[in-house]
Symmetry: C2
Subunit: 269 residues, 2 copies
Amino acid sequence: MITSRENSRMKNLALLMKKAKERKARKLFIAEGIRMVGEAPADWIRGVYAAESFGERRQEQELLARLREGADKGGYLVETVSDAVFAAVSDTKTPQGILAVLKIPEYCLSDLLSKENPLLLLLEGIQDPGNLGTMFRSGEGAGVSGVIFDRETADLFNPKTVRSTMGSIFRVPFLETEDLMQTIHELKRAGVALYAAHLDGSVDYDEPDYTKASGFLIGNEGGGLSREPAEAADARVRIPMEGRVESLNAAVSASLLLYEACRQRRRQK
Amino acid sequence: MITSRENSRMKNLALLMKKAKERKARKLFIAEGIRMVGEAPADWIRGVYAAESFGERRQEQELLARLREGADKGGYLVETVSDAVFAAVSDTKTPQGILAVLKIPEYCLSDLLSKENPLLLLLEGIQDPGNLGTMFRSGEGAGVSGVIFDRETADLFNPKTVRSTMGSIFRVPFLETEDLMQTIHELKRAGVALYAAHLDGSVDYDEPDYTKASGFLIGNEGGGLSREPAEAADARVRIPMEGRVESLNAAVSASLLLYEACRQRRRQK
């Protein structure tokens, strides 16, 4: 059992929790909690750490048994950590006592375009980790084929973001693009119609037909989409707003657009 | 100029920032930042505090001039506070240097029902301040007539919630109910059709006709609506979810429902 925060594995965990740079360099991230660890794909797992007191409830025992069973095949260890050390390394106030170190998966654009009539979400400079996570969650619910984000977007592997995806990070393919405009042009060549969420949009968001290959461009919370991607889109769509509301929350906007596409696609079936 | 955190007004401000009980007892809350203070209704203002360095930019000068102009009529003072003391009392990491103490307005049910075909949001036990604020923001955008919440719902006047309404708190009438079921029965008697957002809903959310007086019931983030209000609703509606998503973020669910009502009402015009 690991009983010291000075243990080199614990120091490494703390770095992976806190530093985006460390996660990026090592291509690893952390998922914490029964639900998240339980939903993590087996072949992503690189290590599991359980608190000393974890395993008292039946649900906990079952998860531990499953993780130990997969350890040999997966080539990872399941290690026990004292409750105090676990609490120190945990990102949550009331730790559930289980976390896994996972590999960051690598998708390519063709993974995101493999379904018929793909539905994509393209993000430019989303700042709030909770918003990013919520977009993955709503995205999976609405049947998104993938999420593409630029380098200015918040770190997807930040523990808060991972948590707020509610597990969708394990199932929704994603891609960080170094050049959003280049990706936009590739998507257009692949026949994906792009719609920019824009306050000055000329079309209400529920007017275009999203049943064919489509993608929604969502900009930064404060400033919205920058000019270039907005102009490259096939149409700028606006979500009507009453009262004195200047804009909606970015995750809400993305969810409204994705669910409008989902609604149209359901009706067509 | 106030230069000490021990000043009795500063102590009072700190209490109003931090303590829901204090806000409730004194029927006061705080709005912070240029945008929020600028949008606050003049007759809600009970006091204004500006940091020493506030007023350097033109936008700041204009706001200060307007607040000072209203001070006599409104019977409030505009006080200057040293930057250090302002930063200590502020709820934000990078304070904008302006805050206002505002009265908590009191609405009654008839205020929320005064429009033709009202559209209401009813909340049970919403826990996350950001979600509550976002619901006000989306609600105003979708044309909601009012938001009703029970006593288990997070405090609307928490600085984080106030901020996340993006000013909608000033324009959307609201009501805290001591007895959600009683309010539900009153609304039904008033002819408002109630729809419960429910994972086991029997109807897709875009099927009912929301163009007449309607209300959406949204439950707690973790557990959803409790049995009684869900059963009292005229229908339980579900938002279809693909993949392995078990539920959507509560603010996203509320926004999807409200915007579906908004979409139907726009199309009818």
